[in-house]
Symmetry: D3
Subunit: 256 residues, 6 copies
Amino acid sequence: MRNDQRKVNQLRKVTIETDYVKHPEGSVLISFGDTKVICNASIEDRVPPFLRNQGKGWITAEYAMLPRATENRNIRESSKGKVSGRTMEIQRLIGRALRAVVDLDKIGERTLWVDCDVIQADGGTRTASITGAFVAVVLALGKLVNNKSIKELPIHDYLTAISVGVLPEGEEVLDLCYEEDSKAQVDMNVVMTGNGEFVELQGTGEEATFSMPQLQTMLTLAQEGVTELVELQREAIGEWAEVISAKQAAQTGGQS
Amino acid sequence: MRNDQRKVNQLRKVTIETDYVKHPEGSVLISFGDTKVICNASIEDRVPPFLRNQGKGWITAEYAMLPRATENRNIRESSKGKVSGRTMEIQRLIGRALRAVVDLDKIGERTLWVDCDVIQADGGTRTASITGAFVAVVLALGKLVNNKSIKELPIHDYLTAISVGVLPEGEEVLDLCYEEDSKAQVDMNVVMTGNGEFVELQGTGEEATFSMPQLQTMLTLAQEGVTELVELQREAIGEWAEVISAKQAAQTGGQS
Amino acid sequence: MRNDQRKVNQLRKVTIETDYVKHPEGSVLISFGDTKVICNASIEDRVPPFLRNQGKGWITAEYAMLPRATENRNIRESSKGKVSGRTMEIQRLIGRALRAVVDLDKIGERTLWVDCDVIQADGGTRTASITGAFVAVVLALGKLVNNKSIKELPIHDYLTAISVGVLPEGEEVLDLCYEEDSKAQVDMNVVMTGNGEFVELQGTGEEATFSMPQLQTMLTLAQEGVTELVELQREAIGEWAEVISAKQAAQTGGQS
Amino acid sequence: MRNDQRKVNQLRKVTIETDYVKHPEGSVLISFGDTKVICNASIEDRVPPFLRNQGKGWITAEYAMLPRATENRNIRESSKGKVSGRTMEIQRLIGRALRAVVDLDKIGERTLWVDCDVIQADGGTRTASITGAFVAVVLALGKLVNNKSIKELPIHDYLTAISVGVLPEGEEVLDLCYEEDSKAQVDMNVVMTGNGEFVELQGTGEEATFSMPQLQTMLTLAQEGVTELVELQREAIGEWAEVISAKQAAQTGGQS
Amino acid sequence: MRNDQRKVNQLRKVTIETDYVKHPEGSVLISFGDTKVICNASIEDRVPPFLRNQGKGWITAEYAMLPRATENRNIRESSKGKVSGRTMEIQRLIGRALRAVVDLDKIGERTLWVDCDVIQADGGTRTASITGAFVAVVLALGKLVNNKSIKELPIHDYLTAISVGVLPEGEEVLDLCYEEDSKAQVDMNVVMTGNGEFVELQGTGEEATFSMPQLQTMLTLAQEGVTELVELQREAIGEWAEVISAKQAAQTGGQS
Amino acid sequence: MRNDQRKVNQLRKVTIETDYVKHPEGSVLISFGDTKVICNASIEDRVPPFLRNQGKGWITAEYAMLPRATENRNIRESSKGKVSGRTMEIQRLIGRALRAVVDLDKIGERTLWVDCDVIQADGGTRTASITGAFVAVVLALGKLVNNKSIKELPIHDYLTAISVGVLPEGEEVLDLCYEEDSKAQVDMNVVMTGNGEFVELQGTGEEATFSMPQLQTMLTLAQEGVTELVELQREAIGEWAEVISAKQAAQTGGQS
């Protein structure tokens, strides 16, 4: 039995509120239970030096937590004067994941800055960040389409992320909250496209190991979660859902 | 005429939402029009080294903005590896202001960490931070009273802050929004107690100067704003309003 | 009675020694009693990137103390690897103040670097810095006039700063020395032009507050001090005094 | 056909030279083809503050490359003044992996510092680091056993790591060299125990995705590589191989 | 002929002004021609962690230049956030040199902080710093003797430093000013005791080399300079001159 | 008697292995007894900003030690976020020394990066670094000659470095190992050309001093060591030895 009575394959309540903050081109507040993340996508009309004059764009993600997003207050990274290894890992992961579904060749020499700021944390902040960031990016790039800066939405599939893990008693579960996560033997983050392909897979035994059958059970759970999350993303992005689904279908056809 | 049709002595719509985030001992979302700040107060059961074994407490404030709280995205201070002069000025101001109304002698060897994180900025973020932080601090110290860690609420007056300024046409106004602020000749932040005493006064001519009569008009406007803000704080802190008002009255008696 | 027998409206002995160091375009050693600050103004023939190709100049101020300028040795900011919040506040204040009387439009694409280095501290280092920096800036810009780089002295008024405060017994005084400052209830720095207008006003209750009548008494004291300081500046800048006085008179005429 | 004629399931030539440097308690030079890493294990007789007085030990890993380990010279991280996100990710991974097979409860209040310094890089530096670090750790802890500081070798299984990936033509291969790695669609690092359990799995689509069948093929290749690497580790650690194999067998018995 | 008409073995005018700043235990303004350095010695009643509970003291030196001590303004090291290699070399040199003549065993668990701040630079700032710092240290330790904190002056010899070099035309000269130094083929700093022993010798060919005979000529010049400098130090330290001379004589007797 | 039975004028066993690492243009592993340093020379086709468009090149050296090159593990400078004073001194010394024998005018607008990484330390790491770096630089510039990027080898003399010192018993010795170095009264590093001229001389009394006769004995020992080291360099650089010897002879002729 899970500590919040969920079934092993049950997500927490997930909500996605769009246009949460007024300035960014795309802005989302996403909640996975008590985990709440503001995902803002900003468009800058230039690229980093290593990409100049190549006619293509870039995506950079940054991630942070408010000091008291957690049970105990964390020291601000700006006060410490450096970004922790954990933060770097997460922001590199978010950026890489988004680059897998956005066609950087089609956004011109622009940088998409994606800021994921956790205002309340209860486990799964990196997967919530990716899932919300995708929506913010669709909205931001949608604005570029609407104002004729680019011709069509340069996104060819959905992108979601979810955590799975093995509890101390050995049971595989979907979408771990903080209490589960802190005790889990295995913690795995799965980033997938709407087409069911893997973008990123990161599994860690916490002073423990896991077997091939456990891996397979976890991946099956992840796939179930992803299907639900794509549904929620479709609702949040409204008119753009049809566009992406059409591209996704075209692509699947191309691959098989 | 002001750009949003307000009268010269009219505040923007101010709202204070308490218990906004679940982990902190005191948590508030305060809005002054489109300026929105999360103010979290955390209690730590120890003090900085310079205060140890003196039986008294401390308050430290930190201030930050989400990168896209503003019209253009700002680089994160954690990425730059240092806190800007502007941020330092503001967080020192917030801490000093709060220390003027909290009796540090009566909170034991504890540190109050006050985090003001601006999620949307439209002028007046430092005054909104102080006004909201006061409420968060009351709620956090109220919890210490409720769980018998301290005997009584160690706060002897209300604390609010508001901006005033002189517009390009020479008119003095209350509570400048960003558009006004960016053009103003003079920008002044006034921190006051509920008793109408000054805690801090910071006025700056922006490549301009101001006269004694202009100063007096601005201070009168500030006083009007403060009276309204105290009313809103009283509503937000509920049961604690009576306690503070009683102390405030006692103090005024003592002073005059 | 003040600890050094001064009257409440009496400045400490103030001296301004020009051409103190040989390399800078303008160099001053200013003393307010035992507070001694070297103020050097350097002219660089370019502006920061954000101002390029706009035909106007810039002023940047830096402030530091020798480690043993104070009773106890302070750790060097270069050793700590970062500039403290206090230092940042002060150098931002000095720069802002100077920009209020220098016509940046008339100095060409040049940067004025103003370095205020405290070699001995006894209270009032920031106000001494501003008062001395003004003289160094006049001398440096005077050299540009003398060597025909610019047509006329681009300074339209005097600029001085002085501290005022409220002593523990409640008496308002002018120009606090360190011993007074460390005990004062209220500490206020006033930056004014020769015409008696405010450039900057920063008043702080130190775990205390102050009333409107106290504010008015302090501002009157400040005005008296400023008048004396302008006299000393006039002597120090020699030939340039007439030029500034003429501009100042013209300006007052224009304003009233 | 692979660029160096290897079969898809063929490792590069792997060598492990022990006692490479004289000061460390355990020292190894490991080569995977042209990738060469010095792995040094140092024992310090104390633990980080968060672990004090708990009677258990800790492992911290650090990773670096000589500036010219690569085709083009990299700027030293000590010159940049900060460690890159990539370096942090790798050193966190090495530490976590080692903690999965070392019984920290049985090493007393000691810290094992594991330094992996790449002197020549040709792909797979993080997996070579883990594979070599394991040997250095066995040798260092073996010294503690030999000098009676601890009773028995506190390591319950072998630990190796290997990369697998998908080449641009879609073929899954084992142990990618730099030329392959830089073009691969998918890059996956697998850390496994001698018992064939996963410790860590990190797979990344590089602006691409991968399917479940591709994942399974890669994991099968990894398993083949791991079996060979364990054989080489057994040779390198000499007398300690029997001890670990006995523990490993006991453990498998316990698990199944 | 030297650019300022000096003979090859002639020092610039050297002056030593004691008690220059009021707070430090020892304070000196030393000038070598236009090079002016404030040398302050501070006594702190504790030692760095690595020396605790050993009953002996320590000396740490710091060196800095005001930004406009030089012809062109230098960026402040506190703004850059790090101390340059040149500064580090110089402050390590000053500290090492002083430790050669001060008996750290006899000052108790105290740290002598020696701050050398160059307010005007014209070549030879490091040798002026050492020569002035010695005087400041004598005065500071003399105060410890006078207030009975230690029994006797723990300094057994004089310490001075001087530069010598080879000019472009090949002539060896004493005490190079900046104009000479910037063109010299060879630049050598010699730190010597009053007894004529070397404490430190640092000679550098600037994209040039030097021969044994050149070295010998330079060392002879240095010795002449040192004799004069010791005379000036004797005058500056007043009553303490006899004490050091007595110790110096005793020591020479012991050595020969 | 020396602790390793060497005669006072006897070097440790010195070996120079070329082409140690595959990527750099010049790569050497040099050993002085148990001191082992990898010296890599890299050529970059541009110069630092201050040299642009002057048609000449530059040499920059960097020096580091693996954390466990020493008896006790040192904290990595990349982790500390700054380079120590000792490291800066050494890398500045290596760069200056090399610039004395390389004709920067003849290498075009290129930067030679010289990386000296100590993998095992037993005294004399800076002198081993210089001696090995010279060989790496010859090999790297030799490649530029071979591929016709420059016309001839722009090196006009050999460059070697060696340590000498005074042991506690007062005996002068050549090439101190760590055990000797840590006890020595005097420690001197001598950098010389093949022609027997000094490039750099750095002698330090460690809480001790040294006399002119001691200096002369040390310099004679150094000269003996240098002669042997040049022989070993000649063997290591093969075909280039004749070229340098010819230039060296020409130069000596020119000088005498």
